[in-house]
Amino acid sequence: MSDLDPEQLREALTSAKQIEAALRERLREQDLVLSGIEALQGEDDPAVLQQRAFDLLSRSLLFHLALVLEPDGEDFVCTAATDPAAVGARWRGGGFFNRVAHSGRAAVTPDNRRVPEWQDCQGLSPLPGGGIYAPILAATGPGLLVLCSHTAGAYGAKDGALVSRLSLVVSQTLAAAQRRRLAEAARAADIARQAAVEASEAKSRFLANMSHEIRTPLNGVTAVADLLAMTELAPRQHEMAQLIAQSGRMLERLLNDVLDFAKIEAGYLEIEREPFQLDEAVAAMIDLFAARADAKGLAFTSEISPNAAGLFEGDSLRVRQILANLLSNAVKFTEAGEVRLEVMADDEDEVTQVTLRVSDTGCGFTPERGARLFNRFEQGDDSITRQYGGTGLGLTISRSLAALMGGTITWRSTPGQGSTFEATVRVRRLEGTEALVEKTPAPDQDLGLRVLVVEDNPNNRRIVGMVLELIAAEVTFAENGQEGLDAFAPGRFDIILMDLQMPVLDGLSATREIRARERVSQAPPVPIIALSANAMTHHVAEALAAGATAHVAKPIVPERLIQTMIGLAPGDQEPPALSMAI
């Protein structure tokens, strides 16, 4: 061994000790990161996790304040801190914060007061010492972990690198907090959705019940008024009876509006696809509103494109409803001049776009008011509601109906000069010339039908009885479903009128039982007409599913009920002349 060996050994020892110290420091850093990750496991309380992250940092190096900054638009906001008073402090994000947050590398400053972002900080003053700014991944985007010291130049880049590694733990903490927030938000949303569903269902039930409760007495009013008008009355009395019937119809329309709206909101409204004559459907509306316009001293002109003639598949009732709403508004809001209707049909590939354009020379409205027209319960303004009446649902419903039929409603208007509304719907043109079979009743007073009326409401039994007198039916009454079943025997009745909501046994159950008995005895099914104020589509569907042959909504319009009965009665029945003497 040479005499130089001690020098070399000493150099080697010095090197080894330095390297060992560096390795030990690196191991310590790795241990810190690992212990930080371990500390997060099995815990999902964000507050506990955050505290553990801060504890980990304080084991790593000395600091006086630790801040977690999350981006909020252009700003950074303190969402967690070792000093709770710092939470909520806000920095305007400048070049430094944004660079560090997005660079993935920590920055170290000798004096926080020199960092420009601190100049405009709201809610916190910079500590007059060194700082470490490490990037983290917050829920709202790249954020910062900031450690502040009271001592100037307290940190070096090596400290920054360590904190940068530990910021992973903070990011995990924030992710855990975010997961919990998301889970809580999802839970809250689920609860809110469930509540909304329940509220919607409750509203639908309420509306259905109200519909029933309102329709039942309304049925009495209009049906009796109709019947009364058919009796021999003095002209003045006849006029009064007609007025009562008209008022009842108006109430019915309002009720239908409310129900339609509820159905649209609940997603229950369904569009029928039945063949119909567009020009005929339009013509019926023209007749009606031309008369109303004439009564107000307004001119009424119409132009129906030849292309609109023919057979289409769609929902004629809803098309007429839209048109009636537009024409009704035009007549209602026009005091002088004219109301004009144009109907066009443009054939496209598979469908035909029908345009209903209604123009008037009425009061018109400003664009601002126009923008609110389709809001529910809105009319031009409150004074219009007071002046002209109405629910304010008509246009909302019409636009929803148009949308359900693949179209929309647009408008243009000049205050004081008039308005033009244009509704479009999509229908399918049917080929061929097969005309719709119109069941036009012819008067006949004696059909000789044997009818079982199952109805719990005495007034309704009385009204139905009066109607059936018109056709000289042989009527058997039952006051609930069970009595109806007791009275029923296969072949005993030609038609059964079945109320749906009844005590003891409801109409749906009674209908099912009748069908069951018929199947057992192999008897032909007797026509059952469900009579109900539950006019919402799903109620009709339920009735038909239970075995009802048809559904007639209350209030009962005598003519409608009789026509339905004639359509279902065995053999070729002829409808009666609807007049009677009481």
């Binding site: 130089l4 020098e7 560096a22 960092v115």
Partner: protein, 394 residues
């Protein structure tokens, strides 16, 4: 980060700048952001920096004069017309800046001003860099370090060397982006995107002889253990130094410098050396470092063989401190004491081999200085003599 080195032995500054910039450009594929430039006093001409700046637009330059030559991975470069060596860095996601300040009276203030300017040039005015590279003339290094630390704190490694000349005649200069400077501090701040490791060591061991400085003034040791310092030191060297009376003793004292404990790593003392340069007529010793009364000085011993191997070992340590295997180095800088270089000049090729072995395949630039600065145990910044300071990237 891409690193490349180039050198030139050309006899004029323009040609040297042309060759250097051409080679760097070819290796890096563009102009470097930072150029660490060392050249012998022959090439300390304004034209050198001007031509380099012209050939490498946007480059920032830091460095100074080197004693006797320069070294790169291609060898030890020294010629009759001097030598130029340069290390270029491209690191687009990193940040680099160079600042300079004149040493007019207050070296500490100059250090502070230079680092402030460097940070501004890097676009990181109020931040602490990962590393600082410095160059200044011999004589005020401790104050320069204090000045830099007054701005960025004491936790950032400050590495570099004091500019040197060929005959200790004050022909040393500093290189900065703005040109060739005299009596300036030039500082580069580095925010690299890759890992770095630094080591600062001497190849000397304590002899067992030591004493307490009982009288001192700046860089003069007047008494050790209340006896004339020259007399004590002469006794420790058994007459090898000082027997010829007052005068320069730099070469004679190289194997036996004085050392002070700068830090201890797990019980092992880390020495920073002071090179006795002059024996005064009053028996005092002039050093290349500051000294204070109360300092314990040890006589250290080193051999030529140790000096040859030392550079490679320190580079080894720098890589180990950075935490990567030797083969993964991207490149580095080595500051080697000019006095040591002169002592083993004939073996410089072996010194280069040792460094190549420690950083295989990686480019490096080495300069020979009259004072070395580095970080002991990472970030304990010191100025010393007869030291090797290494910085490696990996």
């Amino acid at each position: 980060m891409k690193i490349a080195t180039a050198f030139s032995l050309a006899d004029c500054a323009e040609q040297a700048a042309f060759e250097t910039s051409r080679d760097l450009h070819r290796q890096l594929g563009g102009a470097p952001q930072l150029l660490v430039l060392y050249a012998t006093e022959h090439r300390a001409e304004a034209a050198l920096v001007a031509a380099l700046s012209a050939h490498l637009p946007g480059v920032q330059i830091v460095g100074g004069t080197s004693c006797g030559g320069v070294m790169t991975e291609q060898g030890f470069h020294s010629g009759p017309d001097g030598a130029v060596g340069a290390l270029g860095v491209i690191d687009r996601d990193g940040a680099y800046g160079v600042g300079a300040a004149p040493l007019v009276g207050d070296a500490e203030a100059a250090g502070a001003l230079a680092v402030e300017r460097a940070l501004a040039a890097a676009g990181r005015d109020f931040e602490i860099p990962n590393l600082v590279w410095c160059c200044q003339p011999p004589g005020c290094e401790e104050a320069v370090l204090a000045g830099v630390q007054s701005v960025i704190g004491a936790h950032t490694p400050i590495i570099g060397g004091s500019s040197a000349d060929e005959a200790i005649a004050g022909a040393w200069r500093q290189f900065a982006t703005e040109g060739v400077l005299e009596d300036h501090v030039v500082v580069a701040v580095l925010f690299p995107t890759v890992r770095h490791g630094a080591a600062f060591q001497s190849g000397y061991t304590p002899s067992g002889l030591s004493g307490v400085v009982t009288r001192a003034h700046d860089r003069q040791v007047l008494e050790i253990d209340h006896r004339p310092a020259g007399e004590v030191y002469g006794g420790w060297t058994e007459g090898a130094v000082g027997a010829e009376g007052a005068g320069p003793i730099l070469a004679m004292s190289t194997p036996t410098p004085l050392g002070r404990v700068a830090a201890e790593v797990q019980g092992v003392p880390m020495f920073v050396l002071s090179h006795p340069a002059l024996l005064g007529v009053g028996g005092d010793l002039s050093l290349f470092t500051d000294i204070s009364e109360g300092d314990v000085v040890h006589m250290m011993r080193g051999s030529p063989d140790s000096l040859v191997k030392r550079a490679g070992l320190v580079v080894d340590d720098a890589c180990a401190m950075g935490g990567w295997e030797a083969g993964d180095s991207l490149g580095g800088l080595v500051i080697y004491c000019g006095g040591c270089m002169l002592h083993v000049r004939d073996q410089m090729d072996e010194v280069v081999d040792q460094i190549r072995h420690a950083m295989p395949g990686a480019p490096f630039l080495g300069a020979f200085t009259f004072g070395e600065q580095g970080a002991i145990v990472d970030s304990c910044n010191r100025h010393g003599n007869l030291m090797v300071s290494a910085l490696a990237f990996g």
